[in-house]
Amino acid sequence: MYKNVLQSIDNIEIWPVISFVIFFIFFLCLLLWVFTADSKFIDRMKMLPMEDSSPEKEKSNCKQ
């Protein structure tokens, strides 16, 4: 069956190459993006979920 499939798809050898190229570029861009990101910006993003809770509003999850 494997041979059947390989023979019947035209230019089958291009599929893995395309997959690899897409992958390589995708992850290269991703890493480039992440590692060149401004650290102040990253810190700011990190704190986003914490912003909507002011200290007096923030209760402990359980009774003390």
Binding site: V5, S19, V34, C62
Partner: protein
């Protein structure tokens, strides 16, 4: 800049939370019933609406779409408003979404016990409900994108990315997998057949797990965990990598559900490779979650919310390591079709989804009702009951899976199967199934305690329907100062972001699925394989209605232990007229793909009437109604023409002759039964089912004979 006053809509969150708890309890109770049915067939209640084949899809749908789905919406509606510093885009859309979704659940709860099912796992609902799901999903997405557009916070936190990916991908999956040819209002045939249908279904099934049960809950984790731990996420950069690599890789891994099946080899290998690669982003995410708690572990001891979260994240880690391992062909050869998979799914379901849901319910309730949790002690009791429940569920299932699989494969010195009778292997694992039910009962008990605790908490406070908040609006003439071009490009344009997420998931889907669609010779044709006769077609639809596929596979894998037991292994070409495919994913009973000629018509007749009397110790339910109900010949015409539209080569005009052929074949079977002293009407449904069962594997025998000649 002037600060705007507005309010967060807690009412919609409350509604989704109540639905979560109610459907959680119902779904778990149905699951417990199904577990008991596998030990004591008596729990099938001898009713056609409550047999395992119909109860099991009810359980999976209730848990996935009602319990986890409603919890997802509660979590998303709560966190999204706060992360974007705005109320939801439209209250009207929010409520349309809520009630629409509950109606869909109601429709599922009615149609599934009635046997109205497409039989495709987690996509069982029939076409009108599929359309309703599409509409309501669009309402959800519209509301979500609208909220993002009117936000007061310029940057989109990573949780929002996960929500967007969820919306986009589930939409694509649902649309592609639900293409079907309607026959009547509640009956349709999948537009795909055999191998294609299997590939599309498991591309859907796998990614439903990814994008319905995982990505929204990762978003929820990235919001609620920092809130509960009161510290920001360990690494925001890691969360960015986690997001993009997860959504990019996940979509390719679907074929690992079909290893050693008749699926082309290249597709199987593709699935394996990407499954292994998935370990990296999954574990990156898990570690990011656990590391967020660094320096706060002392609080884990005191705070039930954090306890639930730690176990949830750990279960996520375990399940996402186990998944890739299960997709290795040698591990899969043992685990597939056994209880091992059931254990794997429940570590994810009970551990990851369940515990994370419990955590956010315990976290949100006191805050939304402006009070404290009624009883931390009860929450701790819930935690331990739940944890024990998971252990009592998973461990027996692992043991049972491995034991049964090894029994299936055991040969004696003479080279014969030691357990030739499949039933022996079933009877062996029944005590383990009993233990599993105990685990489920413990887990359900914990959930009941939680319900009590949450109601008491809500009663002790006063509900804040509209939580006041204030924030500055987005400046129109905003100038980017930090973050660089990439962040500006991606995060500030939600629509562009959505499109990019769509592209990321489409690439995998296209590479995986397009070749099987375009290349006809991917599925070698076997000349002796012919379309089903009208009677067999009716029988097949009864097989689908009764949910036989939940316990019986139609896929003999190319192993000696299987060819010895069942006969020749299954070929892709045998399924070309199977709309939908019925390969199955679990062997509670034996494979049926080579049933032809194995037993007499009379044996099938007696077996369906009283399985235990024919095979002592069988846990299969009896199907007495098949002997009383008549085949609905009025549907024959519609069935034939719908299948022809889907590509089955019935001659034009065959609709007019179909019932004639049907009656002829039915009379032959009735006559053969009569010869054995069994009187039954030729119109009875059992006749059609026998015809279908006797057809399974018949064509391939014809192929052999023609080769010999």
């Amino acid at each position: 800049m002037e600060v705007e006053k507005f309010s967060y809509d807690n009412k919609i969150v409350k509604a989704f939370m109540i639905a979560t708890v109610v459907f959680g309890l119902v779904g778990m109770l149905v699951g417990l019933t199904a577990a008991l049915q596998l030990v004591y067939p008596l729990f099938n209640f001898d009713l056609q609406y409550s047999t395992f084949g119909r109860i099991r899809p009810l359980h999976t749908n209730a848990i996935i779409f009602a319990f986890v789905g409603n919890a997802m919406f509660a979590g998303v509606y709560y966190s999204m408003q706060r992360l974007l510093k705005t109320r939801m885009f439209s209250d009207g859309l929010s409520w349309l979404h809520f009630w629409g979704w509950q109606l869909i659940i109601l429709a599922a709860a009615i149609t599934l016990p009635l046997g109205l099912t497409t039989s495709k796992e987690y996509a069982e609902l029939e076409w009108p409900i599929d359309i309703a799901i599409t509409i309501i999903w669009v309402v959800f997405g519209w509301n979500m994108i609208g909220t993002i557009i009117k936000r007061r916070e310029r940057h989109m936190y990573v949780a929002i990315w996960f929500y967007i990916a969820t919306f986009v991908t589930v939409a694509v999956l649902h649309l592609v997998n639900s293409v079907e040819m309607p026959v009547t209002l509640f009956k349709s045939y999948s537009a795909y057949a055999g191998v294609q249908d299997a590939l599309v279904q498991w591309w859907y099934g796998h990614n439903a797990v990814a994008f319905f049960l995982t990505t929204p809950f990762l978003g929820i984790m990235y919001y609620y965990l920092p809130k509960a731990a009161n510290r920001p996420v360990y690494s925001y950069k890691l969360s960015i990598i986690h997001f993009w690599s997860l959504i990019f890789i996940y979509i390719w891994a679907g074929p690992h559900h079909l290893l050693y099946s008749a699926l082309p080899d290249w597709a199987q290998s593709l699935g394996v490779v990407f499954s292994i690669m998935l370990i990296a982003p999954s574990w990156g995410g898990m570690l990011n979650g656990l590391m967020t708690l660094r320096g706060a572990w002392d609080r884990v001891r005191e705070d039930p919310v954090l306890k639930f979260m730690v176990v949830a994240i750990t279960a996520y880690g375990m399940a996402t390591l186990e998944g890739p391992l299960l997709s290795l062909k040698n591990v899969n050869a043992i685990a597939h079709f056994t209880d091992w998979i059931v254990a794997h799914v429940h570590v994810g379901g009970l551990g990851w989804n369940g515990f994370l849901i419990f955590a956010i319910l315990y976290w949100m309730t006191p805050r939304m009702w402006n009070t404290t949790l009624y009883s931390t002690k009860l929450a701790n009791v819930h935690f331990w009951l739940g944890t024990l429940g998971i252990i009592f569920y998973a461990l027996p299932m692992y043991v049972s899976g491995v034991v049964q699989s090894l029994m299936w494969k055991e040969f004696n010195a003479e080279g014969f199967l030691v357990y030739k009778n499949f039933l022996e292997t079933t009877v062996q694992i029944l005590p383990l199934h009993g233990l599993r039910a105990t685990g489920g009962a413990l887990y359900l008990t914990g959930a009941i305690i939680m319900t009590y605790n949450l109601i008491k908490t809500a009663n002790s406070g006063s509900f804040i329907a509209d939580e006041a908040a204030e924030a500055a609006p987005l400046a129109k003439d905003f100038v980017q100062h930090s973050g660089g071009w990439h962040n500006r490009l991606l995060e500030h344009k939600p629509v562009l972001f959505t499109v990019l997420a769509l592209v990321a998931i489409l690439i995998g889907g296209i590479v995986e699925i397009v070749p099987t669609f375009l290349i006809k010779s991917n599925v070698p044709t076997i000349s002796s394989v012919k379309p089903y006769s009208p009677l067999e077609l009716h029988g097949r639809d009864i097989y689908i209605r009764e949910g036989c596929v939940n316990c019986h596979t139609q896929m003999v894998r190319p192993f000696r232990s299987e060819t010895e037991r069942y006969g020749e292994y299954s070929k892709a070409g045998e399924y070309v007229y199977d709309h939908p495919f019925l390969w199955g994913s679990k062997r509670t009973g034996p494979d049926l793909h080579r049933t032809n000629g194995k037993y007499s018509n009379t044996w099938h007749f007696n077996h369906m009437l009283a399985p235990d009397a024919v095979s002592t110790g069988s846990i299969m339910p009896a199907y007495p109604w098949l002997f009383e109900q008549s085949i609905d010949k009025g549907d024959t015409r519609g069935k034939i023409s719908a299948l022809r539209k889907a590509g089955v080569p019935y001659e034009s005009g065959y609709e007019d002759e179909a019932n004639g052929d049907l009656e002829k074949q039915a009379n032959e079977i009735a006559a053969s039964l009569k010869a054995d002293g069994v009187e039954v009407s030729a119109d009875a449904e059992i006749i059609a089912l026998i015809a279908y069962l006797q057809r399974l594997g018949k064509d391939i025998k014809g192929e052999k004979t023609s080769q010999l000649q």
